[in-house]
């Protein structure tokens, strides 16, 4: 495997990284403020409805991670560069984190809304579970494969996994609405009040940007790990 030149400086000591971290922290704080102190309780669901602001954002962050995973995997197979493998690794781990959040928040919502934490008759829940299993498989493969072979193997599985994302997302849209329990809020013109709408988009943006920041941080940690391995620290 060709080794790229990894800069011999601490990747966390960059101005851009500091600015991004501060911005994301401020965005998250503002989103929390909107969700917990500004938005009123929803009429039917009550306080539980607030979970929706993080649930949808986590789903978007999962898809963003899957996209980064695809870029990292394709890039690694084409160029054989360590930083692309690190991007794939980071995206898979962060994807697993956010996909777990989607599942957990979805189950909490389901328990209150439908009196069911999980139902095999709800395609979105099942497809998210499949996606979660894919991320688990990727993270496990990284742990079990030899260090030399892991990048190529994970890239192959990463591409297969990323191909599955549009399949699981869009297949849901092809199913009859009768077969689905999941609410379709935004597409059906929900969130009519401006406060709900603003909070929804601010919270989504905050969670997605936090996901991307996590990928950046994990990517940098992976590069530091490679460097320390090269130098036998």
């Amino acid at each position: 495997m060709s080794q790229p030149s990894i800069p011999n400086t601490n990747p966390f000591k960059s101005e851009l990284f500091t600015v991004a971290t501060v911005l994301v922290a401020a965005w998250i704080t503002y989103a929390m403020h909107l969700v917990f102190t500004v938005v009123p309780n929803e009429v039917t669901m009550g306080a539980v409805q607030r979970i929706f602001y993080f649930h949808v954002g986590s789903a978007f962050a999962t898809y963003a991670a899957a996209f980064c995973m695809l870029i990292g995997s394709l890039g690694f197979l084409a160029l054989k560069q360590n930083h692309l493998d690190s991007l794939q690794l980071a995206a898979a781990e962060v994807g697993l984190l956010f996909c777990s959040l989607v599942l957990i928040t979805g189950m909490i919502w389901g328990q209150f809304a439908w009196n069911l934490a999980f139902s095999f008759r709800e395609p979105r829940l099942v497809s998210t579970l499949v996606l979660w299993l894919l991320f688990v498989a990727l993270v496990a493969l990284r742990k079990f494969a030899d260090r030399e072979q892991a990048p190529a193997f994970c890239a192959v599985l990463g591409i297969l996994g990323a191909i599955m994302v549009p399949v699981v997302v869009f297949s849901v849209k092809l199913l009859s609405p009768i077969a689905q329990l999941h609410p379709v809020v935004v597409e059906h013109g929900g969130l009519r009040e401006a406060t709900f709408r603003t909070t929804f988009w601010v919270a989504n943006g905050a969670v997605v940007s936090m996901g991307l920041l996590f990928i950046w941080i994990r990517h940098r940690i992976a590069l530091l790990e490679i460097r320390s391995n090269e130098q036998n620290i």
Binding site: V130, A137, D146, A152, F153, L157, L160, I163, L175, S176
Partner: protein
């Protein structure tokens, strides 16, 4: 050129089947595992005191579960033989095209998995005490099982090359392949359960995913062999 590759593919496929016919280990293993699993699962169904209608509804899911578990345990073994005997090494040194290598492996696994499917569809309904022993032997039942076996063989052949060189070996194949196969499993259950609504959609899922997996396998297979070809000869 294309004909040459097909000819090589056919010869490799015949070699795999002839060796398996002489040895008989995998076939014996798959039949015994299928019978054993069928006994355990159908006992569970009897213990739950399910009515005949409920058992009829359960039969497709149970037979596909048996198929998946037995097939995945055998696919892993299939690749381990080639790795341990050095056959794969020999084929790569003989400059055999990787497409032919992959397609012949898919075909061999497809045939062996189909045997498991046939055994399961004979034994399970009998053990479940169902009068419709031949229910799965309709044209649509056979086409459905063939479609699921093809998806299983396409992903299995690709990822078995990965797990053959991973510390935990063949058992790990279940972890990698299951998330990719679950959508096929659901689609198969829907088709075999005989519900008319949404039939076309589930057929599209089965054959669409088969096409995606086969194409992805053809494209990605050389990458999982890349470390082998880099060996000093």
């Amino acid at each position: 050129m294309f004909n040459d590759k097909l000819r090589v593919c056919w010869r490799l496929f015949r070699k795999d089947l002839v060796i398996e016919a002489r040895r008989g280990e995998l076939l014996a293993m798959i039949v015994i595992a299928t019978i054993g699993l069928s006994v355990i699962l159908s006992y569970g169904a009897w213990l739950a005191g399910l009515s005949e209608n409920q058992r009829i509804l359960l039969a497709p899911a149970l037979s596909l579960s048996v198929l998946l578990i037995t097939a995945l345990s055998v696919i892993g073994k299939f690749s381990e033989y080639d790795e341990q005997s050095g056959a794969l090494e020999g084929l790569l040194m003989a400059d055999v095209p990787s497409e032919a290598l992959y397609l012949s492996r898919v075909a061999a696994i497809w045939v062996i998995t189909f045997v498991a499917a046939l055994v399961a569809s004979l034994i399970l309904p009998t053990l479940l005490g169902l009068p419709q022993v031949a229910a799965l032997f309709t044209v649509s039942g056979i086409a459905c099982v063939a479609g699921i076996s093809l998806g299983l063989a396409s992903t299995g052949a690709l990822l078995a090359s990965v797990t053959a060189r991973v510390r935990v070996g063949g058992i790990f194949l279940l972890t990698l392949v299951l998330p990719l196969i679950i959508p096929l499993f659901f689609a198969g259950c829907e088709v075999l359960s005989g519900q008319e609504s949404g039939h076309d959609f589930w057929w599209t899922v089965i054959w669409g995913l088969d096409a995606i997996y086969l194409a992805a396998g053809l494209w990605l297979h050389p990458y999982v062999l890349v470390n082998r070809t880099a060996l000093p000869l």
